[in-house]
Symmetry: C2
Subunit: 376 residues, 2 copies
């Protein structure tokens, strides 16, 4: 069994993640931020430390501006719905995930204006096109850091500089990059940052995070929690109503500690090697069409492709059943991106290696694709 579906969720996790979660469940079972007894305080410390680790990983100056969520989708909903008002304008791209597309569609119906910039055939957006799209009502530029279909890493540094210059908020959806490549929130001028916990950050499913720079105060999304007057409750509490997922966030903290210890640069270099191997291998197979850039340095850790005359889900089914290769086929919750790639509605096959995969795993995957392409 070879798992190559890390862009959907990473597997396995580092051993320390499993152990941390089990330890919290068995020994730190209090409700953090609620009761004042020792086990509740221990639980609060779990959350505090995870926040500090995340701040260190992304170079976030004030860890208390990090809000833990259940996934990136919730994080993005909190940001858009808490910040964008009627008549305000947001610029985004045509390769966003449904987690961005759908809340914006709902807000459009409420009078928010949305510009969706087209990408080129590699899923690339020109920073100058973003600059041109800015107008006086523009409140926010929101781009995916790397598309979950094309894999292309967008020029966030340049876009961040444009946003600073034009005094527009800059939001990045880092679901496919957080933990997979170095990200420096300060250097990139990112104001709002959404990530999922269960992909390259090595946390368990059920975790995500949202960073909002000081001075940006989204309205509460889920109302509840402590206190009487919401306006007096500060971030992160204001955006974390209800009992928080202590074991999950503790596990996410352990995942981030693993990243800090291994070094994201080293992980990135290793995964680039696997992606190079995939690109080279696939390019040598007749009838394969790769979506997105051919250069592994321009990609996050995923490659989507199609095989002429074959349905992507058939390929996935055969890879799983005949070769024990697990990956994801179809639209990847990003029908817009597949429209941009010209692969709607059947989608594509997506292979996404992780830090625990080996060159042998990739070789086995390529062997499977080769055999399927020959029809045996």
């Amino acid at each position: 069994m070879i798992y190559l579906d890390n862009a959907a969720t990473s597997y396995p996790k580092p051993e320390s993640v499993y152990q941390r979660i089990d330890h919290i469940l068995r020994h730190t079972g209090g409700n953090p931020g609620r009761s004042g007894h020792r086990m509740a305080l221990d639980a609060s410390r779990v959350i505090f430390e995870a926040r500090e680790s995340a701040a260190r990983l992304f170079n976030i100056k004030n860890a208390s501006r990090i809000v833990f969520t259940k996934n990136a989708t919730e994080a993005i909903n909190i940001a858009f719905k808490g910040i964008l008002r009627q008549e305000e304008h947001v610029v985004t791209t045509s390769i966003e995930h449904n987690a961005v597309v759908k809340p914006l569609k709902r807000l459009e119906a409420r009078g928010v204006q949305v510009t969706q910039l087209k990408v080129d055939k590699n899923g690339w957006v020109e920073p100058k096109d973003i600059e041109k799209a800015i107008r006086k009502e523009t409140k926010l530029i929101s781009v995916v850091h790397a598309s979950n279909v094309f894999g292309a890493i967008l020029p966030v540094a340049e876009i961040g500089r444009i946003c600073r210059k034009k005094n527009v908020l800059f939001m990045v959806d880092a679901a496919q990059t957080a933990g997979a490549m170095p990200i420096d929130i300060e250097a990139l001028n990112v104001d709002i940052f959404a990530a999922t916990g269960h992909k390259s950050l090595f946390g368990p499913q059920g975790t995500g995070l949202l960073y909002v720079r000081e001075g940006i105060e989204p309205l509460p999304f889920i109302d509840g929690g402590t206190g009487e007057d919401d306006e007096l409750v500060e971030i992160p509490d204001r955006l974390e109503s209800g009992t928080i997922n202590t074991p999950g966030i503790g596990g996410l903290g352990a995942g981030i500690e693993f990243l800090l210890k291994e070094g994201v640069k080293k992980i990135r270099r290793y995964e680039e090697g696997l992606i190079r191997q995939i690109l080279d291998g696939l390019s040598g197979i007749k009838g394969i069409e790769i979506i997105g850039p051919q250069d592994e340095k321009k990609r996050t850790h995923l490659v989507s492709f199609n095989m002429q005359g074959k349905d992507p889900s058939d390929i996935g089914y055969r890879l799983d059943n005949e070769f024990g290769i697990m990956l994801r086929c179809g639209l990847h919750c990003a029908p817009c991106a597949h429209r941009s790639a010209g692969t709607y509605p059947s989608g594509a096959v997506r292979v996404s290696p992780g830090y625990f995969n080996t060159a042998d795993d990739i070789e086995e995957f390529l062997r499977g694709v080769r055999e399927i392409s020959c029809g045996f």
Copy 2:
């Protein structure tokens, strides 16, 4: 160390919950409902089975009407914000948790009408007062099943009958009762049901659930997920956008299986005994004022109290530090309920035993309270 804070979060969990979560993390790491490979399908099965178990526990006919959430607060937000429209009227009580009070306050600002019925000194609401409060714009009656401050179990059967008769939706916040006492959604005529996973259902923190009867279709709350057109995505998927908390929900499933195996009636009987012991013991201590009913049969598994002339948080601090007793003091995220009890703003001490506590634990707690009351 004696844990008596089960109304904040239950501790410990059954061994099977720890084991299930660890097993899912280590062996069922796929993304449920996303990819089609075997480990993703295994993960889908985890979610499916938890839904079936929850349906069995609450006598819910169609398990697919159960939506998994991150906590009860999210569940309640989904229901209110997805169902209530401008000019519509909702009837609730003056002892609700912030998870109910705050979203209703926000909706009031958007034109929803809210009637908050006063409770008597035991935290009791007369069904006939609820009936009287219903008017032609009334869409929903929403009551807490048992207050997290008073502990009093509200007459949900009678209220349910009134709602059926008057053709008004009936919603129950069962955060303090789900798993702690038998609940039959059909028999009680409940249309919308919110529960937290990490209290008496023995799931981990980060889990909750919402049931919505067929025919009730809340608008999506968190937009995203699969598909292009939200209207075509059905419940539960429509209300579960983003990657779901598979290990957490699997753990919740294990907790519910434990309840089904032990029998909630047996658990309820056992906890009633502990509550009787607490009520008897506290009644014999000079200067103790108990909030809510004196009859253990009219209470869920918690007792809030004050000691004349003492600050509740001082009592909690001393119980923790001198006697190793963990419980929760203050306002319990329910300032309205404490106003109703006349204990705002200092709140109360709340002791909440669980199925894994013993009579000796309660005796030790009572010894602590006695010693503190004597000032040594």
